[in-house]
């Protein structure tokens, strides 16, 4: 089989990165052509059509939170469709992550991927013989691989892996196979099976899909670290890359977390997911904390106060019931903070001081959480004892003040932790999930990447190698002429404005004065006031017979901008020469690389 139109990890990764940029269809097309030229040293001689998932009429796709871009490339000899599915971007995506990946309760975005691919094929009018390639990052890998039937292959970077609980709950054939294999009847029992056994079974069951999946994963990616816990299994051909050699990655740290702790969090996520699948996100939150936050929506002032007072007893009781199990999970983290942050310090992610302050304040937070739990318990016990939904203003105010004091303590601890700079420091973990760190580590001799831009490193000069952003150089060469042309137009506009605002305006003023002169000379009697104005009293016995205006109009001075306009125009012309000089300078740096000159030539033909 001949090579795909878009080939190479770098090209595909840069294309996935484009999906995150808020580009118009035209900008997307130009960027695709630009990247193709940079990567292949030739123009993409093909028709390109693009469809965004946000532009299709599907409530299902919109409601799922799925975002994707389909690109149809037709070179006449070859026709292919590429679908870039976007990873986690916004709150709906994060909620989906909890419901899909942690709880394993939904595949809506994967189903939406299917719908979008079918709509795109229809839109592009392509049949099933046209190859459809999935490109994905993060959450999108989970979506694209579940929707694998729609794709001929999937390429992913730092993907959220398939989850066998998610597939057990949504793929009825796999559900049957698991139940047969492990001999049980009710779905809930799956969570009690050995995760390792389930993992191995899923790997075998879905093994035939593996040859359609190519993944590049950073050893420092937090999702890679997380994929060691129950639920996840990694399919396909995997290329591991150490994108941040300064740290060892978090996988070992996560692997040390006992499975029952993960199971606890999974149960919490399942409660949230099941409730929110049935009644929406508010119902999910109600399941977790016991309070219907949706009921507060659109209420303010007295109406809000009235709602709280009317439901106060119910809310306190619900909080008292729901908070302890939730706090237990949080305490799992706080109680083990010394070990967790000790490992992060050992691995070089944080400093010793950051670890000490964080552990100290997490201990304080834990104490405040226990206090909150006890305050609520005391309050409810007292209500039960008095058999009265209201304990009286005094008691309630004391309860509220005690709760508020603990919340302030928690907030202050958060501020102290933040002050250490630990959150900023931990951002490097987030960076290791991103596409740019991955691209940066994809260097190939002369070529490397910064952000999504291609960098060439010159070794032809003496001393330090020189790095040139070749993407930026080509953009400069390509876009600077239109910019200079736009400046030329603005100089013409300025020239016209000078004529309008000064020359023409002066003529207008002259015309107005001339009109007034004509008026004065033709109706002198209307200007009797001039007699008194100039002291010719009495005026009642005098009659103006004529007025003669000895008009003098000087030509307008100081309106000559010729010198300035000339300089501005020269600057445009010298700009064109400057661009060519810059091109020559870069070509000189890479004189052994013949294709640099060619790239400059091609860039203006896109």
């Amino acid at each position: 089989m001949s090579e795909d139109i878009i080939s190479g990890s770098e090209f595909k990764t840069r294309l996935i990165d484009l999906g995150y940029k808020d580009l118009s269809l035209k900008e997307l097309e130009l960027n695709i052509r630009q990247i193709y030229m940079e990567e292949n040293g030739e123009l993409l001689e093909a028709d390109i059509e693009i469809l965004k998932s946000s532009d299709i009429e599907s409530d299902f796709v919109k409601d799922s939170g799925y975002d994707g871009i389909a690109i149809h490339i037709n070179t006449v000899e070859k026709e292919e469709v590429y679908v870039i599915s976007e990873g986690t971007q916004d709150l709906p995506d994060w909620l989906y992550n909890i419901k899909a990946m942690l709880a394993g309760q939904t595949i809506k975005q994967a189903q939406a991927t299917d719908v979008f691919v079918q709509e795109a094929k229809e839109h592009f009018n392509v049949d099933d013989n046209v190859k459809v390639n999935g490109l994905s990052h993060s959450l999108a890998h989970n979506n694209n691989t579940i929707a694998l039937l729609s794709f001929d292959n999937v390429y992913s970077v730092n993907g959220a892996q398939l989850n066998y609980y998610q597939l057990f709950n949504t793929d009825f054939r796999f559900n049957d196979a698991v139940k047969n294999e492990f001999s049980f009847n009710t779905d809930d029992e799956v969570y009690n099976l050995s995760p390792q056994d389930l993992h191995d079974f899923a790997m075998t069951y879905y093994g035939d899909k593996a040859d359609k999946i190519d993944q590049v994963i950073s050893t420092d990616d937090p999702l890679y670290a997380v994929s060691v816990v129950r639920g996840f299994f990694t399919l396909g051909s995997i290329t591991m890359v150490d994108t941040n050699p300064d740290v060892p990655g978090l996988r070992e740290l996560i692997a040390d977390i006992p499975d029952d702790v993960i199971k606890d969090f999974q149960e919490l996520a399942i409660d949230f997911a099941v409730a929110s699948n049935q009644g929406g996100t508010n119902e999910g939150i109600k399941e977790l904390i016991g309070i219907d936050v949706g009921a507060f929506k659109d209420k303010e002032g007295m109406e809000l106060a009235g709602h709280i007072i009317a439901n106060y007893d119910t809310m306190v009781r619900a909080l008292n019931e729901k908070l302890p199990p939730l706090l237990d999970r949080v305490q799992t983290v706080t109680a083990n903070s010394d070990e967790i942050f000790g490992s992060l310090e050992e691995a070089g992610y944080i400093t010793e001081r950051q670890k000490e302050v964080t552990v100290d304040h997490l201990t304080r937070i834990e104490k405040s959480l226990i206090d909150i739990e006890n305050i609520l318990k005391d309050n409810v016990n007292l209500r039960d004892k008095l058999n009265n939904p209201f304990l009286g203003a005094g008691n309630e105010i004391v309860t509220i003040l005690r709760l508020a004091s603990n919340l302030v303590e928690i907030y202050m601890s958060y501020v102290e932790i933040e002050k250490t700079g630990i959150l900023k420091r931990l951002e490097s973990i987030k960076d290791s999930h991103g596409l740019q760190e991955m691209l940066s580590s994809m260097s190939d001799g002369l070529k490397s990447y910064i952000g999504a831009d291609m960098i060439y490193t010159s070794t032809s000069t003496k001393g330090e190698p020189i790095k040139v952003n070749i993407s930026a150089a080509l953009r400069m060469y390509q876009k600077s002429i239109p910019i200079l042309e736009a400046k030329s137009t603005k100089i013409s506009n300025f020239e016209k404005a000078i004529k309008d605002e000064l020359d023409e305006s002066y003529k207008d003023e002259k015309r107005k004065v001339q009109d007034e002169i004509d008026q004065v000379e033709s109706s002198p009697s209307s200007y009797r006031f001039l007699l008194s104005k100039h002291g010719y009293y009495p005026t009642f016995n005098k009659e103006i017979k004529s007025i003669r205006v000895h008009e003098i109009f000087y030509p307008l001075e100081d309106n000559d901008f010729d010198e300035q306009l000339e300089e501005l125009k020269k600057s445009v012309e010298s700009g064109k020469l400057y661009i060519e000089k810059y091109r020559q300078a870069i070509e000189d740096l890479f004189e052994e690389e013949e294709n640099v000159s060619q790239l400059f030539d091609l860039s203006r033909r896109i």
């Binding site: 300025f494 000078i498 605002e501 000064l502 107005k512 001039l530 100039h534 009659e543 205006v549 000089k581």
Partner: protein, 110 residues
């Protein structure tokens, strides 16, 4: 009846302030500057890192700085010229509105 003539300088039309024209004209300069800014953003992204040295790099950096400075001096000159021209326009129009008049009247009492 006798007629008499006297001459005066009279303001025929009320004066007006045209200072706003400076703003109108400067807008065009701002637009040109915006193009330059866009141009230099493209240029400045080419060399990776500020600390890179080398004969070719130094030459291009020097040329870019010289070019930017020159462009800036052109704009400064244009802005100054706009200010001078509009001030002068204001004065010249005000002068034009004042003209010398010969008024001839008839005195009916004589």
């Amino acid at each position: 009846m006798p007629q008499f003539t006297f001459s005066v300088t009279e303001q025929l039309i009320p004066n007006q302030d045209y200072t706003d024209k400076k703003k109108q004209l400067r807008t065009h300069v701002d637009n040109m500057r915006a193009d330059d800014d866009e141009f230099y953003v493209l240029v400045n992204n080419i060399i990776v890192g500020e600390d890179q040295k080398g004969k070719i790099i130094d030459a291009m950096k020097k040329e870019t700085t010289a070019r930017k400075d020159h462009d800036e001096s052109i704009y400064a000159d244009v802005i100054s010229k706009i200010s001078k021209s509009v001030n002068s326009f204001n004065e010249q129009v005000a002068d034009m509105k004042k003209q010398r008049l010969s008024i001839t009247y008839e005195d009916k009492t004589e």
